[in-house]
């Protein structure tokens, strides 16, 4: 035991490990700065997109409620629209950083409250869907890459590609038709929409089960459509590895095929996949927006599509900021994990 500890201490001082620490630090710094830059970009974009509205924003935003000049003035003052643009930008920055995303034109409540309210259904939906799509997708990717050219591969890839080609909301509609309305022999066992039944009592087991039941179809929709993304990424990533010589080495060592696959090929192929999967989260979020619409799930996506019809600019801006920030943070996280897992990041 003692000599192991001694070795550990010894190893910690080899230039290799020291270099690694330092370079991971640099890597983290680089990624964090990059993400911060992206956030800043989103902030600026959020500001300018909503100030280049054609016409008088006060009149547009007032939705025809305000007819007198005084009312318009008051409205402008409320939203700071009477100030010069740089001043508006500063206020915007200050407010955004203090969590003030403005007040919904429609609901007259702080946008941040609305978003907080709507966040968790989306998180639930996107989270579960991403998790499942990743796990299943990666599994399918492994299966089809490992059996490249065989029937398994062809069927898997063909099916996922077809699903990938579907607009997710269209698939959602068909799934509702099939499994919520019921079709032929299929009973309509799933709810057609919403996040929970009217009579579910919050906080009970039944409520959780009920919510789960409501999530089945929307999650299934997202998973089916985005499965292909992940499985194709994993497939090509693993195919990259399959030609590598170190796998031959592993086989030569007397490892079983499954062990070679699991311990060497898949593990290595998963590394670059993490960052690619993180990039796909943006797509899943996009998909969630339409799926929420089809399934009437009161999440951020639904909030955004509703805001679209008004249009409730502050809500649009808020959801844009929050979803973008979420995706950027998810990406950062994936990159950091990748940096931790892959010793090669510094090269």
């Amino acid at each position: 035991m003692t000599d192991l500890a001694a070795q550990g201490a010894d190893a910690a001082h080899t230039p290799a490990t020291v270099g690694r620490r330092r370079s991971y630090g640099r890597y983290v710094l680089g990624k964090v700065l990059g993400s911060a830059g992206s956030l800043a970009f989103v902030l600026v974009l959020g500001f300018f997109l909503f100030r280049v509205l054609p016409g008088d924003p006060a009149r547009t935003l007032g939705r025809g409620r305000f007819r007198t000049e005084a009312q318009l003035e008051e409205f402008r003052a409320t939203y700071g629209l009477d100030q010069p643009l740089p001043q508006q930008f500063l206020t915007y920055l200050k407010n955004t950083f203090s969590g003030d995303l403005g007040v919904s034109l429609r609901y007259r409540v702080p946008v941040s409250d609305l978003i907080l309210d709507r966040l968790w259904p989306t998180l639930l939906l996107v989270g579960i869907a991403t998790l499942l799509a990743t796990v299943i997708g990666v599994y399918l990717g492994v299966i089809s890459a490992w059996n490249r050219g065989k029937a398994t591969d062809k069927v898997t890839t063909g099916t996922t590609l077809t699903l990938y080609s579907m607009p997710e909301w269209w698939l959602g509609l068909l799934l509702i038709a099939a499994f919520a309305v019921g079709m032929g022999p299929l009973p309509g066992i799933f709810p057609t929409g919403g996040l929970h039944s009217v009579d579910a009592e919050p906080g009970t087991i039944g409520y959780v089960g009920d919510t789960a039941l409501h999530l089945v179809l929307p999650v299934l929709t997202l998973v089916l459509v985005y499965l292909a993304d992940f499985s194709l990424i994993m497939r090509s990533s693993l195919l990259d590895e399959i030609g590598e010589d170190y796998l031959t080495t592993a086989r030569a060592k007397g490892l079983r095929d499954v062990v070679v696959r699991r311990r060497h090929a898949v593990r290595n192929a998963l590394l670059p996949t993490t960052t690619l999967i993180a990039l796909s989260i943006g797509f899943v979020v996009s998909g969630a927006i339409t799926v929420e619409t089809v399934f009437s799930i009161p999440g951020l996506g639904l909030l955004a599509t509703e805001a679209l019809t008004i249009p409730d600019y502050w809500v649009l801006q808020g959801t844009f900021l929050v979803t973008s920030a979420g995706v950027i943070l998810a990406n950062l996280l994936a990159n950091l994990v990748y940096g931790l897992l892959d010793p090669r990041v510094r090269s």
Binding site: G19, R22, S23, R346
Partner: protein, 339 residues
Amino acid sequence: MSAAAVPAPDPAPDDVVLEARGVEVEFVTRTGHAARALDGVDLSVRRGEVLAIVGESGSGKTTLARTLMGLERPTRGEVVFGGAPLDYSFRGLKAYRSRVQMVLQDAAGSLNPRQTVYESVAEGIRLHRRDRSDEQGRSEAELVAAALAESGLRPPERLFLRYPHELSGGQKQRVLIAGALALRPEVLLADEPVSSLDASIRGEILALLLRFRQELGMGVAVVTHDLGLAWNIADRIAVMYLGRVVECGTTEEVLTAPRHPYTQALLSVVPEIEQLEPVVLTGEVPDPSRIPSGCRFHPRCPKLADGTADRAGVAGDCVGTPLPVLPATGDHRAACHLA
């Protein structure tokens, strides 16, 4: 088939075409350290001579060749061509490169996979409009054909439409040489021209270089770590270690009577049946970002380790006194406190 033996010409010392004067090249590595890949190199290439630059991996051979080509700008010192320092402007470099050419280390990678042999060879001709200035009034295609034929690819037309992946390693190397040759350079730099090739093919390529030197009076600088190759074709040898030339002289002098312990060690490990006593240096090539004090070779020097230096009374110098840069004269010299 071995090429006909060619007698060694007498390179006149004043025939220097291309010269490195105190060239120093520093790279900034990713960790922020400065790595001095070249640390003061004086070296000259003369008209009609074959100069071999030898040394271990990482000793700076490629960097030297690239610097001579103007691909790397020396942080100190200068490259002198035809008596004038190199002009690094776009026009200057272009003009320079029509007179000095280089064959890169990696033959397989040096051909654009989407260009045919014809296009690859014609590229230089087009860039420098050689078909317009050709004395014999040959067309571009004729020039390409001639260059390929000269490089031993006959009949050239058969190869015109080939893509690199349809060529063998030796053919690729010859296409590259033909491309450089089509410009009729005064100096040809060849970086490891045969190390990626099969044993049986290398003879042909080497013979080719010898022929150009002979027929066209071209100066050739060959970068290699293979001493046998140097013995085969070089008139002069410069041995490099950690960014410096540590020994130079004619091939016979350097390879039969090496003065520097490093050269001696290199020579001793050339695999042969009847071994000299091999002096296998331990350790890797030292890191150019941490050049040892005194003689840069001293941490690995067998003469220092076995006490020879101590007995000669220079051990202290070896560790503490830096050696001057070897001048680029034709004499046999070694940068060693013992020599």
